[in-house]
Every structure is written in structure tokens, then in C-alpha cells.
């Protein structure tokens, strides 16, 4: 911008001489925002550039290794989000651009924060499912599952086998639907508009099954402490078999449409590269971690439920780039379908909720017959069931990585502290490193490949 012309937008272009403080004073987020270099302490600068990685297994990354330090004053700080078509919700990323090259970036979150952890302390364990299921809204059943598993661990009870198998069936289907949605949005982010609809089209099949089973398409409140809310609907095998039958063919279509498509490969290969050391150090989990070559899947490495009895492969990448993450998700759908086929075969008969009067309300007709049943019914629905004192952490593998539930009970029917470790929340930390040095278009591909769900991030 030439000297004689006043800058069009003061905050865009800043120089070292510009009063940097005045630039950030305009918005309300204060120091949560990306700061101009003149203001930023060196430590934070390093953090933003992802340079401070004291790696547990390796050497220390030196800031000198990173070559994007440009002291040129022709940089521009730009906001991507919270209202941007490809930030997947209300994620906001501030980026410092040199031309179109991303020098630094900082994710700013909290726009969807609704205090669900606090709300969780106000709801009983019976009601709790309705709360946690809203966190990671693309994988609601996983939220319910981890909450139920944590509660059951505190109760020290074992749920009936059928309940566990139903949980596995539904969560694997949920993994399929979540990944399908990701395939759709990823296609959209890269400009392949048809992929968007195709992904949604297949996901709809899964959601239809959910609707049939739980009565809702998302936020099911179906997996509960003590089992599942209801038995599988009549004729569920046919529905699941149809999903198993149709989706693989559609996945092959995706292969034709995207995987082998040279433009798509150009757009994703070598974009947003993360090394295994960086991924581990940043606590990334799920497809991001696996794309770097670390074969870590809780289903196999710390089996919960009956995953140790099933045959499936953990899909691992080798380059840690956006294409690897795409391929991992695509193949994880296939693996999930493989798991689902085994579950359908092995689904046992029997109870699907724990037959413990304190936890599960009595069968309805017993209310008429027995005073005791009526009292239990009333107690469960008014004050809930009491959970013995203690604290526990349970983690399960969601489509996005590890979701953990840290649950503290003080012996009352409400959780004393409910903390959800959400995969997207932690995974977002790897964004600045992956974006560094890429173009704006790459930034979009990177955000997409992280697959953040802001409901889970902000809780």
C-alpha cells in the first residue's frame, strides 16, 4: 500500500511502528486473539508457530528450524470464522498472512460454550445422558457411551451382554455416519460439491436407522447408565444389512470421485503434515494421530466392551497429511462395516438393561402390581439413583479420537464433577502447526482434516 493513500482498513496492515495496542483494542476477546508480533512475548510467538515442542521421545525442536519468520511488514491478520463456510461451526481462526501464505495462526474457541459440564452437575445420572449427548453432536452415542461407562464404573456394575452389543452396534454405526458426514464436508471444503450430497445421502441411511431405534436422529439419550433405553426395533437386522449392503458400493464411488482424482490428491497430499512426535506431544488422537503412523486405537489397544472379540484392522497412515486422514476415515468406514457385520451375527438375546431395581425402573406393569416397584419407579425418576463416592476416568475411541469422561461422585444422585475430555478440543491444538507455511486454501483443507466439532470443543 502506497504512502499517499490512507490504509483502507487500519487493522489489516500493521507495521512494527503501528501502535499495536490500538489494533487489538477493537474487539472484545482481548488476549485470546492472535496478537501482533510487537506485542507478543517470545514464548507465545513460539507457541503459535508450534515451535516449542519439547518432544518426550525426541529432541527439542529449535525455533531456528522454522523458516517462516518473516519480519516483513506486508503481512495481514485475517479472521477466519466464527462465521465462515468452512470452519465447521463457530471455530474462529486468526491467521497472519503473507500474501496467501499462512505465517501464524491461532484458533479461538468458546463461541458455543454453554457450560455443559456445569449443567451436568445439576442433572441426575438419569437425566445426564440428555446433556452429554449434545456435546459432540456428530457422535452423540459416543458421548452417551462414555458417560454411561463411567457411571457404571463408579457403580461397579456390569451391564447385560446384549446391552453391550447394542451399544457397540450403535456406536459403530455412529462412527460410520460421522465419517460419512466428514467425507461430505471435506469434499465441500475442497470444492467438490457433489461429494457433499453423496456423503449426506449415505449418512441418511444410518440416521434413519437411528431414528427407528431411538426415535431421534441425533441427541438420542439412548445409551444410559445401566444399559440402553430400549431394545432394537423389530426388523433391525434387515435395516443394518441394507446399510452393510449399500454403503460399500457407495464408498467405491467416492474412490472414483475423489481418491483417484488428481486434483483432489494435489489438494490434500503433503498438506497439513504432522509428524508422529508432534502428534503425540500435542495429545492428538484419532485419525490425526493414526495418520502419522502411530497405530493407536483404543478399541484395539485398550479394548472396552467386546472389541477384543472382534476382528478388525486399525487403519494407519504414513505421511501425516490431509490425504492420509482422508484415506484413514474412508477405510475406517469399511472397518466399521466389517465390525457391524460381526455384531449382527453375534448379537445375543437377553436383557438389555441391568436388572437392578436401584438403577433401572421396573417394567411398567409391575408398577400396578407391586408397591415396591412403584416406589422404585418414583425414586428413580424424581431423585435418580445414588452413585457411590469415588472418581473414575473412562476413555473410548470416537470418530475423532479419544473422548474421556472424568466423573467424580460424592455419593449423591448427581455427578459432583463431570468433565469430558473431548477429542476435537485437544486436536485443535495441532491446527497452527499444520497450517504453518500453507496457503489459505490449505488452511481450509487442514481444518477439514482435523474434523473439529465445535459442540464438543466448547461444551
Amino acid at each position: 500500500m502506497s504512502e499517499d493513500q490512507p490504509p483502507q482498513t487500519a487493522p489489516i496492515v500493521h507495521t512494527a511502528e503501528t501502535d499495536a495496542e490500538a489494533l487489538v483494542a477493537e474487539t472484545s476477546e482481548g488476549t485470546q486473539e492472535l496478537q501482533p508480533r510487537t506485542l507478543t512475548e517470545s514464548a507465545e510467538l513460539l507457541r503459535e508457530r508450534g515451535a516449542v515442542l519439547r518432544l518426550p521421545d525426541g529432541g527439542v525442536l529449535d525455533s531456528a528450524d522454522i523458516d517462516v519468520e518473516i519480519t516483513d511488514d506486508e503481512t495481514m491478520i485475517i479472521n477466519m470464522g466464527p462465521q465462515h463456510p468452512s470452519t465447521h461451526g463457530v471455530l474462529r481462526i486468526m491467521m497472519e498472512l503473507d500474501g496467501e501464505t499462512v505465517l501464524r495462526s491461532k484458533p479461538i474457541i468458546g463461541y458455543l460454550h454453554t457450560g455443559m459440564e456445569k449443567t451436568g452437575e445439576e442433572l441426575t445420572y438419569v437425566q445426564g445422558g440428555t446433556n452429554v449427548t449434545r456435546m459432540d453432536y456428530l457422535a452423540p452415542l459416543f458421548n452417551e457411551l462414555v458417560f454411561a461407562l463411567a457411571t457404571e464404573a463408579l457403580l461397579e456394575v456390569e451391564v447385560p451382554e446384549r446391552a453391550t452389543w447394542i451399544r457397540m452396534l450403535l456406536t459403530e454405526l455412529n462412527r460410520v455416519s460421522s465419517h460419512l458426514l466428514w467425507m461430505a464436508t471435506n469434499g465441500m471444503d475442497l470444492g467438490a460439491v457433489s461429494m457433499m450430497i453423496y456423503g449426506f445421502r449415505e449418512r441418511e441411511m444410518v440416521l434413519d436407522f437411528f431414528e427407528k431405534t431411538t426415535g431421534l436422529r441425533m441427541n438420542h439419550n439412548f445409551i444410559r447408565p445401566g444399559g440402553v433405553a430400549a431394545d432394537l426395533p423389530d426388523g433391525w437386522q434387515e435395516d443394518v444389512n441394507e446399510i452393510l449392503h449399500v454403503i460399500p458400493g457407495r464408498l467405491d464411488e467416492y474412490d472414483d470421485l475423489l481418491t483417484g482424482q488428481p486434483i483432489f490428491r494435489e489438494r490434500t497430499q503433503g498438506v497439513g503434515v504432522l509428524t508422529a512426535e508432534e502428534a503425540v506431544a500435542l495429545g492428538a488422537t484419532g485419525p490425526i494421530l493414526r495418520s502419522t503412523g502411530v497405530a493407536w486405537d483404543l478399541r484395539r489397544d485398550m479394548p472396552y466392551m467386546f472389541y477384543d472379540q472382534l476382528e478388525f484392522d486399525v487403519v494407519v497412515g504414513s505421511y501425516g497429511d490431509a490425504f492420509d486422514r482422508y484415506a484413514i476415515r474412508l477405510n475406517e468406514i469399511r472397518e466399521s462395516l466389517r465390525i457391524i457385520a460381526q455384531i449382527v451375527e453375534r448379537m445375543p438375546e437377553g436383557d438389555y438393561r441391568i436388572q437392578d431395581k436401584k438403577v433401572t425402573p421396573p417394567p411398567r406393569r409391575r408398577i400396578d402390581e407391586s408397591m415396591e416397584a412403584l416406589i422404585h419407579h418414583f425414586k428413580i425418576f424424581t431423585e435418580g439413583f445414588k452413585v457411590p463416592e469415588g472418581e473414575v476416568y473412562v476413555g473410548v475411541e470416537t470418530p475423532r479420537g479419544e473422548i474421556g469422561c472424568y466423573l467424580v461422585s460424592d455419593g449423591s444422585p448427581k455427578p459432583y464433577r463431570l468433565h469430558i475430555r473431548d477429542a476435537s478440543f485437544v486436536n485443535l491444538q495441532s491446527l497452527p502447526i499444520m497450517m504453518r507455511g500453507g496457503l489459505v486454501a490449505d488452511a481450509v483443507a487442514v481444518i477439514s482434516s482435523v474434523d473439529p466439532v465445535m459442540g464438543g470443543v466448547d461444551r
Binding site: 489489516i12 496467501e100 467438490a192 460439491v193 494435489e266 489438494r267
Partner: protein
């Protein structure tokens, strides 16, 4: 006299009132035709895309939603017109017209049929047939760049700015490839007038193929022109200038109401015009077998049919391909299209002198190409070694 040319028999007797009237009628008709076809094109695109995506698509306004674009246009017309605070107001207002007007003007040189006779006047079905028609086309598409560029720049906002930077680079690069592809046509035809180019393509090539430029020139200029014009039009997969997922609309982010509608109009009008020009330059224009009844109609139908096929291809591209990245687009333009069409132009030139010269030029180009590819792979290896 710019509009008058030796080509159009309308002007043989000089210009009188009837001739002027005929010209005005032609202009108005072309304008109306173009506007209607833009509306149809938007509807057509949306319908085809929705078919490709198993959707219903627009189906509310009129039968099969055919009036959807009209409804959208009417709505846009009555929307609030926002002018950003930091915009350069005059240029901000000017830009949409810079975009839309050349789109109209380019269409003027497209021959959409043969000639018709009314009274003792005979005229070509073409608004104007200037002797330098092709240059006029290149000039107009160059002016249209300014519309997009200035729109982004004058918005005083960051995303449009990025969009306009992309626009200037992209359009300038692809203008070169576009020009080289056109040069091949001009070289072969020996005339800059579009009418002459069209008439030059009549007849059969070796008694099988129609003697269209796409066959005569060996496909390369055709595909280069097709790709370059798609890029020039900012259509997917080259729509980086508006790149909704990255730049939230790019240069027209800050535009609303009728000004936005003008950009929209210009984009689709350019799509139609460019397809028509591809038909003119490479697919023989209105050339095609005719029948004895309604003689004047067949060329028009042929022309429309060919254009429609090209438009379908454009839509198909949009429905299938992901968007290129900025640097990949530049790579494609500078490293593939421009050298390719340049070499092809040389070979064509050689062939025009004699077959022997053509072979010589071909041989030299192959040698150079091989050397270049070898050098590039060596370079890539070297980079890999240094990097590791």
C-alpha cells in the same frame, strides 16, 4: 465504421434508416436473447447439478422451477443495497458494470446462424461482424478482468482483497493461453473476423469428419481454449476468485442487491458467450447439415445445440471436480497450457509451410520436451536430497 464490415451484406448499400433500424432490432433481440438464456442457464445449471446429486433442485417457481432465476433476480433487485464503510465508493459502484457490459459486448461478434433476407435487405445473424472480431473478443475479456479486480479491491475488506489478487493473477495468466489458442485458429484461417472463421470451417475433412477447427487443428488448441476459458470465467474447478469455502465469495463478498445480481448475471452471461465462442472458433459455429424446409433455422439450431452441449460440459465439470489451489492453477497455466499451446502453434506454423517443416518442428519440440522433463525430475531429486 466499426460496426460495418465488408462481411455483413446489410451495409453494401450504405447506411440508411432501415439499416439502422435493422441494427437496432438485432441489438435488442440479441440482448433479450442473452438475458433470457442467462435465466435459463442458471436454471439449467441448478437442475443438472441437482440431478447429478440425486436432488430435486428448484421446483417451486413455475413449471419445474423454470422461473426460479427470475424470482431470485426479482428478490435481489429489492434487497437492501449495502455500501461498505471503507469501500472506495465510486469504484465499488463501477465494478459490476465493468463486469457485465463486456459480457454483453463479447456476444455481439458471435455468428449464431446464416443470413436472413427481409425485403431487399440481407443480413447476417450476428450483431456485428467487425474485421477484427477476435481481437475485440480478447479485448473485452481483458476489460472484464478489471470488473472483478476492482470490485475486490474497492470493497475495503480482506477476503475480497484476496479474491481480487487472485483474480488479477489468474486472469492475466490465462489470457495468454487463451490468446495462443486463438492464434492457432487465426493462423489457420487467415482472418480475424468471426464470420470468416465460421465459413472457413464448412465442408468435410477427408470426407468423414466435418472440417471444424477442433479436428483440423488437432484438439490441443481446443482443449487449451476450453480450459483457459473456464479459468477466465471463474467457473469451477477454477473459481478461486470467489472460492466460497475459502474466501466466502471472494471479490463479491461485500456486494448485495442489484450489484451482486449484475456480477451473477455477468458470470453466467460470460459462460454462455464463451461457450458460443468455443463453438464459433472450433466447432464450426452454425455449421451442420440442413434440410429443405426453414433453411435459415437449421444453422441456429445447430449453433444452439452445440452451445448447449458445451454448457452441459461446464456444469458437469462443476458437479464433479474439486477446486484447484492457487499455485496449482498458476502451474497449470504457466507450465502446461502456455508452453503447450506455444509449441503447438509452432508445429502448426511448420505444417502450414510444408509437411516436412512440420515434422522438423515436432521433432525439435519433442526433444526439448524430453530434456525439460528430465531436467525437472533431476531437479526434484536434488530437492529431495537437500531436504532430507
Amino acid at each position: 465504421m466499426f460496426l460495418a464490415s465488408a462481411g455483413d451484406p446489410l451495409f453494401v448499400d450504405g447506411i440508411n434508416f432501415a439499416v439502422a433500424l435493422a441494427v437496432i432490432i438485432k441489438v435488442v433481440l440479441a440482448f433479450a436473447f442473452l438475458l433470457v438464456s442467462v435465466l435459463m442457464m442458471i436454471w439449467f445449471e441448478r437442475k443438472i447439478i441437482s440431478d447429478m446429486q440425486n436432488r430435486v433442485g428448484p421446483d417451486r417457481a413455475g413449471p419445474w422451477g423454470i422461473l426460479q432465476s427470475l424470482a431470485d433476480g426479482t428478490k435481489l433487485f429489492f434487497k437492501e443495497d449495502l455500501l461498505p464503510d471503507r469501500a472506495d465508493k465510486r469504484i465499488f459502484r463501477l465494478a459490476p458494470y465493468l463486469s457485465a457490459v463486456p459480457a454483453f459486448l463479447s456476444f455481439a461478434i458471435v455468428p449464431i446462424g446464416g443470413t436472413i433476407t427481409f425485403g431487399h435487405y440481407t443480413t447476417e445473424l450476428q450483431v456485428a461482424d467487425p474485421p477484427i472480431g477476435i481481437l475485440f473478443l480478447l479485448a473485452m475479456s481483458a476489460v472484464a478482468v478489471y470488473g472483478v479486480m476492482l470490485a475486490g479491491w474497492s470493497s475495503g475488506s480482506k477476503y475480497p482483497l484476496l479474491g481480487s489478487v487472485r483474480a488479477s493473477a489468474q486472469m492475466v495468466s490465462y489470457e495468454a493461453a487463451l490468446g495462443l489458442a486463438v492464434a492457432a485458429v487465426v493462423l489457420y484461417t487467415g482472418d480475424l473476423s468471426t464470420r470468416a472463421i465460421v465459413t472457413g470451417q464448412e465442408g468435410l475433412l477427408r470426407h468423414i469428419l466435418p472440417s471444424w477447427n477442433v479436428f483440423r487443428l488437432g484438439f490441443v488448441p481446443f482443449f487449451v481454449f476450453l480450459i483457459a476459458s473456464t479459468a477466465e470465467l471463474n467457473r469451477p474447478p477454477f473459481d478461486l476468485v470467489e472460492a466460497e469455502q475459502e474466501l466466502v465469495g471472494g471479490f463479491h463478498t461485500e456486494y448485495s442487491s442489484i450489484r451482486f445480481a449484475l456480477f451473477f448475471l455477468a458470470e453466467f452471461m460470460n459462460t454462455i458467450t464463451m461457450s458460443a465462442i468455443v463453438v464459433t472458433l472450433f466447432l464450426g459455429g452454425p455449421d451442420g447439415p440442413g434440410f429443405h424446409f426453414l433453411r435459415w433455422l437449421w444453422p441456429i439450431l445447430w449453433f444452439l445445440g452445440k452451445t448447449l452441449v458445451l454448457l452441459f460440459v461446464q456444469v458437469w465439470l462443476r458437479g464433479t471436480l474439486p477446486r484447484l489451489r492457487y499455485d496449482q492453477l498458476m502451474d497449470l497455466g504457466w507450465k502446461v497450457l502456455i508452453p503447450g499451446s506455444l509449441v503447438w502453434l509452432l508445429i502448426l506454423g511448420g505444417m502450414l509451410i510444408s509437411f516436412k517443416w512440420g515434422l522438423i518442428v515436432l521433432g525439435i519440440s519433442v526433444l526439448f520436451g524430453a530434456a525439460l522433463i528430465r531436467a525437472r525430475s533431476l531437479g526434484a531429486q536434488r530437492v529431495g536430497e537437500v531436504g532430507s
